[in-house]
Assembly symmetry: C3
């Protein structure tokens, strides 16, 4: 339980209402509870304000609705402030410094201060683990890999040899980092696997969701830029270069050697073929297949991906194709065409 | 080895043929073996009946083909009866009550009767494990999670904290349940991760195939309804609500806060974007991208998904587009259009 | 460090330049380093030859560019030779014969010579492990499974019971082999799972990338042919039969009972529905959805997949649909059509 004053202090906000109101938790504005605090992150949610059971709401500085029986806290960025309040009510679990007795840690590994290494973890030769790193049960860290300070690796992650994970990264369960990429040479109808000597480098503050796969580079490195966030079941092939602050949604696949510049947003189930460059700030809509490089600031969709507005116009017309065909038939009827061009649509 | 009488008793069926015929196993009707029993689940398979090497066949009550040298067992639902016969020949392996010596089980966990906990399993604080639960090697169960009676969790599964798994569920290897969803707030061009305090709730008799990912809710819960079955490599985002008896095939992705009502069937590689409602009994064909909510009983396909019949008609016309374009050219030729509107198709 | 003579001997090549030149590593031709060796695998890369910092280059027998200050080694197949040189500089790590003290190995398992079994591995009853097999940390091998000689299984793999893995296979982390397929029978609106008694059989030299799922057969087996290579996050359903030397890229899904003949290439994110036959030597382009069987040597693309050349022509016309619609409007204007067929495109 925290009072409105305590919460306002945490988020550096201005109170409009009862500073002594006790708040027992956080909730959604729509799916709400009494004695809870919610937030309005964008104007479109304002319509849920009055019906909400939340007694307190974080709002922007310019919020102008009649607050009636609710207590408001005005802040610069309600969504960011709400994150702080969630952490106030649900402080992150920081495990005590431990190397579990049945973890298998090479004596040649360097382990920093305040590190948590859970049960059944394996840490191979010459691994370097920074201060405050948390490595949960069943995770495997291969030879010569570096995990920098503050990074959290959830259970059953597999990180191969010679990988570099930056500071404050999060790797969710089941992800696999550092496998050889899908490089094959065919000879006499038989494939030969190309050995991969590049690394995987995750810069600071990268988030890799569960069951993702990031392949190592063939001769150079696969690199994920600072602050980039990845959802579930994502496939990043060898030599891919991803810039800073990209957001990559679930089940996306990025093929070999493609480059994403900074601030690219890729929606779910998108595929990007190899050797492309996706320009800074581009957005790729869900399920698209990108077969060509994109200029900075592009917004594309579809299979194959095209500029989104054109795609929408095409889709409207595709929907009308049966009508259009009828119109052509009508034109043909009144014109003296002698050849038979009839088309059968059942 | 079982006789036809023993098998008929198991499935409560009526014998047409030799009750003493010894049967040594079960087989497919087409890819068949002598001394084996098969079944005819639907009329379209009847054509394989006479060529089949199977000496005995489970058939519906109204089955009317000449049985010749085969022994029939008439039942209400041959496919359901066949499942029973498979279990007769291949009884399910129920491990003896064990907590393996190298499993790490918190003393605060409540463990029911007849529980199997395999090697290298980790069970954290305040976990509750119901009677008859089987948890295989290398699986991780986070704090405060509940696994209800009769559920089987295969090797190397990762279940985070505060998850509820119902009774008689099956979770296959590599699946990850309870990760934070892909909720991000951008501030000064930097993403901030939204902490997720909702849970994941799997109702009874849910099957989660291998390498699936089910994210926890942001503020409310992610819920999978009773009897719903999920295939491999499926992505279920935060706050998704799935009804009862849905069937979700491999590599499907369902984005945040979408709702599937009861009895929805989703074929392989389908994507459903966020905040949609898929009406009861709807079917989504393979590879579709659903961008709009669907009325109950819908059958859609394609990218973007449209009603399947319309989609098929459009596809036929799209195939004829080169011809259609020629017809337009012909019309233009015989009409006195002076402007040049020529289109280049190479 | 190796000299050009030593390298030329390894690849059985002919030197054009300085046989005593010391080489300290391998590199890409474009992203290159001094004192390194690179290769030209196809003519299209020749344009990078002169600017490359690599002092030595493996080239084909007919390579005709002026070598200037570079030393060449002429070979039959530069890419294959390059693989040998990479292994020369980066010899593969072969762990010493070990069964780690905390691996749990059934006394009924047969373990060959020179086997490595890492920490936290579980090997159940009646498993057979061939000579020289490497099984890394956290991997689970179920009852009656056979792993033949020379196969490498990376960390945290789950292989269920009664699976056969051939010789010289590679299974990357997180893959799951031998789960029951997605076979359901509906009765009274409730799904019943079909028990699967078929096996999974991987022939020799199969590569399964990370986080793949290969389901066991229902009554017969799921089979992956010799030399077939699979990338990341691939879904292979029950009863699928894949031939020899197929290449299957990331996030592909192949539904139940489909057959891929030999030498089929399937690009990323392709879906192939059930019960199809993909003819020998066919190629399926990225993101395609294959709904029909394909003749040998087919090259298809798109959703639904069509012959690639036709698909490209259709795509060009789809792009021109707004123009085409305008042309139809123009025709309608000059013709005495009285009915209104106007179409609104915004």
């Amino acid at each position: 339980m925290f009072t409105i004053s305590q919460i306002a202090e945490t988020v550096n906000g201005t109170i409009d209402g009862n500073p002594d109101l006790p708040i027992i938790g956080v909730c959604d504005l729509k799916d709400s509870n009494a004695d809870h605090l919610s937030f309005i992150g964008a104007n479109k949610y304002e319509k849920f304000f009055h019906q909400s059971k939340a007694n307190a709401v974080l709002v922007g500085k310019g919020f102008s609705m009649d607050r009636k029986d609710k207590t408001l806290i005005h802040v610069d960025n309600p969504a960011i402030s709400f994150i702080k309040v969630v952490h106030l009510f649900h402080p992150q679990d920081i495990p005590i410094e431990t190397i579990h007795s049945n973890a298998v840690v090479s004596p040649t590994a360097e382990i920093g201060a305040n590190v948590y290494i859970g049960p059944h973890v394996v840490i191979e030769e010459n691994v370097s683990i920074g201060d405050g790193v948390q490595i949960y049960a069943g995770t495997f860290i291969g030879k010569n890999t570096t995990i920098q300070s503050g990074t959290v690796i959830h259970p059953n992650v597999s990180i191969y040899h010679d990988v570099i994970i930056g500071k404050q990264c999060i790797i969710d369960s089941g992800s696999v980092i550092g496998t050889d990429g899908f490089g094959l040479v065919k000879d006499n109808n038989t494939y030969h696997k190309i050995p991969h000597i590049g690394r995987v480098i995750l810069k600071d503050s990268v988030w890799v969701g569960p069951n993702c796969c990031i392949d190592r580079g063939t001769l150079s490195d696969t690199v994920i830029g600072e602050g980039t966030k990845m959802d579930n079941l994502i496939h990043i092939a060898h030599n891919v270069q991803i810039g800073e602050n990209c957001a990559i949604a679930g089940q996306v696949g990025i093929a070999g050697s493609s480059i994403l510049e900074n601030n690219v947003a890729v929606a779910g189930q998108v595929g990007i073929i190899g050797h492309l460059k996706i320009g800074e700030g581009s957005t790729v809509a869900a399920k698209s297949a990108v077969f060509q490089s994109l200029d900075p600031g592009s917004f594309v969709s579809g299979v194959p991906a095209r500029h989104h507005k054109n795609r929408l116009r095409q889709d409207v017309i595709i929907n009308q194709l049966p009508d259009i065909l009828n119109r052509i038939r009508k034109l043909e009827k009144i014109l003296p065409i002698t050849e038979d061009n009839s088309i059968d649509i059942k």
